[in-house]
């Protein structure tokens, strides 16, 4: 099975708690280890919650900075990844609000560009027809995600791009798991149906 996106998290819960405590006390090495463990989650979250052209590096840097400055606000009851994702989501929402932007994925995609995600569809000597269908499926997925309602876009991005589980998404969005499931089901139903329409 093709695996869902996951960030490279290698910390055991006990180690993570110790690192958080040390970072709170000013241990920069502990802080760096924490950031390193979750930076992929933050890059993926910001990349897919911000519109094309926004500075993702600046967003991740600001998220990291806010997290380091407010480590005392992390109670330890939820997951640290969910807490970090919440900061990233709030930063991205704020950017969108300030710029009066709604879509977080550009609709203006040059399908033939080298950076196009369509270029990474697995090949294995497929027929031109299959390549075209795969490209169409990916293009439709991108477009459909871009026009999902805001909350559905957020849960979809956190689940499928950032790789958070349902509990982590709930924490990131400050909602309960049932709400996450509701939005995620609606989003998946919409996106899956348009993707499958592009395939035989």
């Amino acid at each position: 099975m093709a695996s869902l996106a996951r960030w490279e998290r290698a910390l055991e819960p006990e180690d993570e708690r110790g690192l958080i405590e040390s970072a709170r006390e000013g241990d920069s090495g502990a802080a760096e280890t924490l950031l390193r463990s979750y930076e992929m989650l933050l890059f993926r979250t910001c990349r897919h919650l911000l519109p094309a052209g926004e500075d993702v590096e600046a967003a991740v840097q600001e998220t990291m900075l806010r997290a380091l400055r407010h480590l005392d606000h992390f109670s330890g009851q939820g997951s640290f990844g969910g807490w970090l994702a919440a900061i990233a989501v709030n930063y991205c929402r704020d950017r969108l609000r300030r710029r009066r932007l709604v879509p977080f994925v550009s609709l203006e995609v040059n399908d033939e560009s080298e950076s196009s995600p369509l270029a990474v569809v697995p090949s294995g000597e497929p027929s031109p027809e299959r390549v075209a269908m795969a490209r169409e499926a990916v293009r439709r997925l991108r477009r459909e995600v871009a026009v999902l309602p805001r909350r559905q876009r957020e849960v979809f991005a956190l689940r499928f791009f950032a790789g958070l589980d349902l509990g982590g998404i709930a924490e990131a969005l400050s909602v309960d798991v049932g709400t996450v499931k509701t939005h995620l089901h609606r989003a998946v139903q919409r996106v899956r149906s348009v993707v499958e329409e592009a395939r035989p």
Binding site: S28, R44, M64, G78, V138
Partner: protein
Amino acid sequence: MNIIHLTDDELDRALVGESLATRAEEHLGACVACRRRRDGFVAAVEAVRGDDPDEAVRARVRERALAAAALPASRHWVRWGLAAAAVIVLGLLPLLRAHLMSSPQLNADRVLVEVNTILDRDPLDDVASPDVVEAVVPVAHSGEGGSTS
């Protein structure tokens, strides 16, 4: 023998990460067609997700965040203080101008009273909307595991 494939709802549950009924779980493990539906969706998602930044980019961002976090906290409040002072000065300009235009002689006592009144107010009332405060100083909601909103 009739084969009962996963329904759309069951497939969505699998994609979302929810547990399936035993029958559906077993079928998914054995049915190539249903696995293809699931894996095709996941592959399309992965294609849209794109490549992750390389280590050099990640290290640069991480180091900048750590360096910024190491700055004294007072720097943060100095900026707020300067912003508040700027707002107060800008707020006083029209007042002073109106006063000078309407009266041939400056009433220093009245101006000082106005200045003191403004200075006694909380400067954050002038410089920070709730959105700005929320963005700069995210707070954890009680009972939600320290999540920041």
